[in-house]
Symmetry: C2
Subunit: 264 residues, 2 copies
């Protein structure tokens, strides 16, 4: 399996604090030692780092946990390989062009018989089930909406339906973004917290680090962090339900689709 | 056009000094403002950064110009877009798997009718002539050598032949690496310098930065830097010839193929 970390904020915000906690799980407090990656969006542009070395040992990850780069949206992933060798091209997040924008995606879980997902024009570079599922999603969206990007409600509905199909193959916790919104789908574990005024202190579960958000924010800031497992020990994280899709924009939930069969 | 920067060393070495010079050309001392990227190899592993923002302005590039990450081989590129939009997936270096290793590649120049290069299984993610040429090279090598990685001489000969074919379509200055060797092909401009004991001081042409290599090396270090244009103003760089392929391993030239018609 792997671990996911996402952020959506209404003001450019760095991910150092949360990434420090995630990073420790990449070989020190957790077994996810098969690489890490990060896609960082600001003003619609996205830049990315991919490193197949364990995040707990990587000097590049050390840099990223201490360097404040302000972003609107971040998707980060630390990998514990199941399908596909440990190498650059199997390192999440993966990116593809759709509707003139760069979409980035990371996946936690494992899908059975992912090779049976029919893809035609959107090809994986690596050999993971995760990237194949991403290519399939991109292609399904293209087929459904052609060259016209749908409104957030229609897109969310489509993503929910596609994710539920993938869920039938196994575990599919997923994050996807176009730089404006962060789409999160949960099958087994995704937790989120929205921080806003009045800001408090928080301490990481995996590292001996405390941050006083009051000191680094303004009253207008809204910052949501999403992770497979809560990253702090003194805050109350919301747990997403099985089959739930949550869409964040500027740190706020703008769309939420719950799958009825999961609340039986 | 674009600018290329490569490094091959016999001891892990950081690229900060050279990258500081290159970076300035990405929007400040040069027009190459359409993104930058870096593939960094150490012990056979490669990690990578891709950033479509101008390197002169990018906070991520600022970090990389001041952070010492030791590498055996580096390929870096700053882009001035001609074919393909400015976006993450059009940002060099590009990477593909071949013979169980991750090969990284960057290109300076422009190729006419690159879409006519026939590729079958190795697909570009973006829309540049550069990535298409890379996919074509990878596929040609696979056809020639199947699943058996050739010795350096055979591979160099093949790369030289393929590069000469691409050269017929325009300008093809290129760097390619598997983490062991750095293959450089020149059609119009590539310069290199090998630094070894006794080390001297050097000052960048594009930035007010001087480094005393004596202070940061041992007597055994051999470090070769290759760039489209010399990066320092007080050293003597060697100019590669039109149609020449140079292969570096541990900072030393291990293979050199000159194209006879270019020295007529």
């Amino acid at each position: 399996m792997c671990e996911l970390l996402g952020m959506s904020a209404n003001v450019p915000t760095d991910i150092c604090f949360s990434f420090s906690g995630l990073r420790a799980r990449g070989g020190r407090t957790g077994p996810h030692k098969d690489g890490w990656g990060m896609a960082m969006y600001r003003d619609g542009d996205v830049w990315a780092i991919h490193d197949p070395r364990p995040s707990a040992d990587s000097d590049m990850a050390e840099v990223m946990s201490h360097t404040s780069l302000k972003c609107d949206i971040v998707i980060s992933h630390i990998r514990q390989a199941n399908v596909g060798a440990v190498c650059l091209l199997n390192t999440h997040p993966f990116s593809r062009l759709l509707w003139g924008k760069t979409w980035s995606y990371a996946h936690n879980g494992q899908l059975e018989a992912a090779e049976a997902l029919v893809i035609d024009k959107t090809h994986p570079l690596g050999s993971t089930d995760s990237e194949r599922a991403f290519c399939w999603i991109i292609e399904q969206l293209q087929r459904r909406f052609d060259n016209l990007e749908p409104e957030v409600e229609s897109l969310s509905q489509a993503l929910s339906e596609l994710a539920l199909q993938l869920k039938e193959r196994g575990v599919f916790n997923m994050m996807l973004s176009d730089g404006k919104r962060l789409y999160c789908f949960c099958t087994t574990k995704l937790h989120w917290i929205t921080r806003r005024a009045p800001f408090q202190k928080a301490s990481l579960s995996d590292e001996d680090v405390i941050v006083d958000f009051q000191a680094v924010t303004t009253d207008k800031d809204v910052v949501t962090v999403i992770a497979t497992q809560p990253l702090t020990q003194d805050e109350s994280w919301q747990q997403m339900q099985e089959g739930e899709l949550c869409v964040f924009d500027g740190g706020e939930v703008v769309c939420q689709i719950k799958h009825s069969s999961s609340v039986a």
